[in-house]
Subunit: 649 residues, 2 copies
């Protein structure tokens, strides 16, 4: 069945026929079964934290609830079944999203334990590590740390200072923090619960550095005391995520047996010789990091969930709270009847759907890439690029939107019992961890310039400038699920004109694509020009391209999101939901075009009249969707009892 | 001495000659003496709170520190000297700004006590109230509440439900909360410390409602127990400002003597008859509210201070923290050497200066308006309009910028000990209290449409539409301090062209002015057209103008800020500081034009080439200012010891 057929069939369907349930089903997509199980089996008490809990109580609560959920086989997907896992890798993202509708401390605690620590063992370790450590990791009997970031180096992982030195005499590794800047910081589970750490450091074997590798190091004994040579610190109070015990770890020549090295991509044999299936150290490093891509996907996905929850709270409140009177008429009217209030919330509701479909697609692609044998390097890099872009996009949106929701609820929004300030404080750091957003967007731009041919780490920006292709090929316009539909839509739109065009999906897609193509191509030209300058001038010229890189990355990621939305609609069988999603997609696309209209005007992709028409069209869509606010909120799939917002009681 | 003369004289001065001290002096302007006294006499311990304090400890700390400062004659300006005040009304804003560089709970506690409670007594009360209550209000011996907001009504003060009914038999007033929605909420000092409240309610005398008036009602006895008929609630944990004890107050037919009514603008005589010097109830209401304008000015000013502090922390960190290497070269480089990082911080530093000068001007105008005899109603409304616009602008900027600063410091920014998340949580609610920003900007637009001829409350939006002038006159382009200079600058710019134009202050001013004039005029036309429709359609059409109103208000306020910056530079005698301020003003003006470039392009005030040139000019200015980052930070005037950011230790 094609979109055109549907439109004919659905002639008698109206928006008013759409139900929240059917919309939620559509948005769940391939993960409906998993998400449905959460909704019917998990109570609000299992996943929502009292927002006024202090740090110590919040930490207790978080560990306790995570353990309980794991025992009930929630949040443990993506591990080998024989080690106690339950569910596929893509489903692990869906579990993470559901948990994030409850509480973000709980979510990040699971992210540290199952996603990062467990993920490192699964992806960087081999059979012995899996059998020995995964069962207790999954059940949370062995709380673990992902000890990557150091005081001196956050986003720049290749510059880590911690050393992992092979000691031939005793067949051990010695883990050491050579100076103050080598201390591991912001490490979840380090301050209180962690018993073992997956430590990232430079591997030295026989006097030669083999680059960053990962090794398991016990850090606390059964009584919770730190082990000899291990110095653990508590970083104490943070701007949010109080339930996660972030801390510091420093090693003073700590010895562990050779087999503790996670040696899937490089290890030391019985003769004390280093071997790796990947000869190039840079390629090896980025392949290792690449296997951890799930974490980045999950962080973006969870930020999306937190925003859905905030939107559910603020939109529901806006349908109930009345202030001021209609000009010239008597009764006080609900906040959501004001256009200014609609503009705060409804385009963001549309984005919530857009990003939801995009996350579903990303999760499915994660499964495909990680299961592919042999590994498809280009496809893997495309996934990593998309994950980086989506993480930056979603977490930026989450920060802005949760704040908008807080303000849209006035003074009530500021009361902790109404939940929004908890969400705000918790989601804040999502812009930073799993890669600072600015750094991630630069990585996306680099990948586009290199057409996924090289790994990010193969070269710095100067190298990138040298390697940038003369013309950017169609590789970056990679075929997404919706491609055949997209091509048809674009072709159809070419035959339309005027106001009609603003409602044509093909026009939206064409606008997104042109912006991406133009910004990436002009970036490529400027990058090549900068690369041809003398070395010092070249560095300065490349530095001037920073904002252009961010913009190109954003344009690329926006286009992927729109295509995912189109694909999501294609998959939706319920006709009324489908009509509603089409309206939401219109609003998402037009709001994105409006937000970026300066670029479209500067590059003469729109004239001033059309730019103003886009704004009018958005206002009209807000009016059309306003009566369906409750259905749109229900469609976000947040269990109503989990909102726990006092003002909605 | 004129600007042109200076430029000739200063030929040999370079930016590098500028010192932080001289810049701070320039930015302090007329308030240098007051601010200097704070900087040399007040220790960090007096004004900075441990950000990890729980709610109960934070409340203790806040009351204690405020009392201590008041006893040392800080933060008690703007009261009659004979009652214990020390300093002028404009100086009260400067005191508030300095306190906000320390801690926002402390600041808001003072705002509640001295600004709102004390301000109500000063401005709405008469001699007996002043003599009886001001001394203990100033010394904080009598902690008081400003009981305006109700559960049912926040921004819409005219719809308050609390009643103040005159009881002829006993010559008393009876204060009552008729229903659940009449309960006073979010009231500072209500949860714990308040002994008395200035209660806003509808005054009923002899069966007739005289509109909102204010009455003093004791709420707690000397032991802190609530008085009979008064129900006090604690709103507990909030998203920030933990040191302020916000609570609820409900009255069950509470009687107080007649003289407790703050009767400057309306009271009951010995015969039980209501009298007021202002016959029109609406005019009376808005005159009363107008006398409280200081609160709105102070909230904007304090938000500006909080942002200065955040910028001082993040910019200093960015000069020290090194990450990644220069493309093709070896050493790790400071974050602030990246253009992407400069773009996050430097335009905001420029805005900090712009808003600082604008706040100075606003504070001085506050003094002129409040002291004018007889009261100049148009000038008063212009001040209220400007105060509303600046409050909305500054608090929006504060929220966005403190968050930007948090993210610019990465994981370190999220650690409570580094201060940024405390600022973030505290400043959040500034967007809401003293008037929701959206509501305030609509008030600004209304005032512009009515050319300050009517008070805001005289009419709803439908009435506004009827009264909107055919053409907007020059009234809204009211003469600011800098007007003669501005006219000259605009004339000069007309003779320039091309890239040269981008550095011409006159061009900046012309762009700001044209945007304001066009948006206000087109709003007036649309508003008049909407007003001519049948009543129900009219309401809908007016509602559609909400976004346009916000935009016009913003354009107006931006123009006032730019003119204040120009005036501030005019007042600056130190040549090197002056040059630095000119650069900052360029950056402020261009960043504002860039941010609004979609409008300028849509309205053909810029062509695409110039729009792109603006962006390039901003990038170049960032490069020019980068080496002076430390001086620019020092110039913000935040005492270094008050930063208390662990990562800068």
């Amino acid at each position: 069945m094609t979109l055109t057929d549907d439109r004919v069939l659905d002639e008698t369907i109206t928006l008013a026929d759409a139900t929240g349930d059917a919309l939620a089903h559509a948005l769940d997509g391939p993960f409906h079964a998993v998400k449905h199980r959460w909704r019917i089996e998990v109570d609000a008490d299992d996943v929502t934290r009292d927002p006024a809990l202090g740090m110590a109580e919040a930490r207790d609560w978080t560990l306790d609830k995570l353990t309980g959920l794991a025992h009930r086989h929630f949040a443990i997907a993506g591990f080998p079944a024989e080690c106690g896992g339950d569910g596929t890798l893509p489903e692990s993202v869906a579990h993470f999203e559901m948990m994030a509708l409850g509480d973000l401390s709980l979510t990040i605690k699971s992210g540290v334990q199952h996603g990062l620590f467990g993920g490192a063992i699964t992806n960087l370790g081999t059979a012995w590590h899996h059998e020995t450590f995964l069962p207790d990791t999954i059940s949370v009997a062995l709380p673990g740390c992902f000890a990557m970031t150091e005081r001196g180096h956050g986003s720049d992982v290749q510059s880590l200072e911690t050393t992992i030195t092979y000691v031939r005499e005793t067949d051990e590794f010695e883990v050491n923090s050579p100076q103050a800047s080598s201390e591991k910081i912001y490490i979840g589970n380090a301050a209180r619960d962690g018993r073992m750490a997956a430590v990232f450091g430079q591997l030295w074997v026989a006097g030669e550095c083999q680059g960053v590798h990962t090794i398991l190091v016990p850090i606390r004994d059964a009584d919770g005391e730190s082990l000899p040579g291990v110095t653990l610190g508590d970083q104490g109070h943070k701007g949010g995520l109080l339930g996660v015990d972030n801390g510091t770890i420093a090693f003073d020549h700590v010895r562990v047996p050779r087999r503790m090295l996670l040696d899937r991509y490089g290890g030391v044999d019985d003769e004390g010789v280093y071997h790796s299936p990947i000869a190039n150290p840079n390629a090896r490093f980025f392949t290792m990091l690449g296997t951890l891509v799930r974490g980045r996907i999950c962080v973006g996905a969870a930020a999306g969930s937190a925003t859905r929850k905030a939107l559910a709270i603020a939109t529901t409140y806006a349908t109930r709270r009345r202030q001021f009177r209609r000009p010239g008429l008597g009764a006080e009217i609900p906040l959501l009847d004001y256009l200014t209030h609609q503009r705060k919330l409804l385009p963001n509701l549309a984005r919530a759907y857009a990003y939801g479909f995009a996350v579903n697609e990303l999760a499915l692609e994660l499964g495909r890439v990680m299961e592919a044998e042999p590994r498809d390097a280009v496809r893997a890099r495309a996934l990593e690029t998309r994950a980086a872009g989506m993480k930056a996009l979603l977490t930026r949106w989450a920060n802005d939107t949760v704040q908008t929701c807080r303000e849209a609820c006035g003074g009530a929004g500021y009361m902790t019992a109404n939940q929004l300030t908890l969400l705000r404080g918790d989601v804040d750091v999502f812009a930073t961890f799993e890669g600072d957003n600015t750094v991630l967007m630069e990585l996306v731009a680099k990948a586009l310039l290199l057409e996924y041919k090289n790994t990010w780490g193969d070269m710095d920006l100067w190298g990138t400038a040298q390697a940038t292709a003369r013309f950017v090929s169609d590789t970056i316009m990679e075929r997404t699920a919706a491609r055949p539909v997209i091509d048809r839509l674009v072709a159809t739109a070419r035959r339309r004109s005027g106001g009609d065009l603003l409602a044509a999906r093909g026009w939206h897609v064409a606008m997104f694509e042109e912006r991406e193509r133009h910004t990436v191509e002009s970036l490529a030209q400027r990058m090549r020009a900068a690369g041809r300058l003398p070395r010092a001038e070249s560095a300065e010229a490349i530095s001037q391209l920073g904002e252009h890189m961010l913009f190109a990355a954003r344009a690329h990621t926006d286009r992927l999101v729109l295509e995912a939305f189109v694909a999501g609609i294609e998959q939706t069988r319920d006709a009324a939901s489908r009509q509603m999603l089409e309206k939401l997609c219109d609003l998402y696309a037009l709001a994105t075009i409006e937000e970026g209209r300066a670029w479209f005007l500067e590059h003469q992709r729109m004239d001033p009249a059309r730019s103003k028409a886009v704004t009018s069209a958005i206002n009209a869509l807000c009016g059309e969707l306003r009566p369906h606010a409750a259905v749109l909120v229900e469609g976000l799939g947040v269990p109503e009892t989990w909102l726990r917002s006092q003002m909605l009681a």
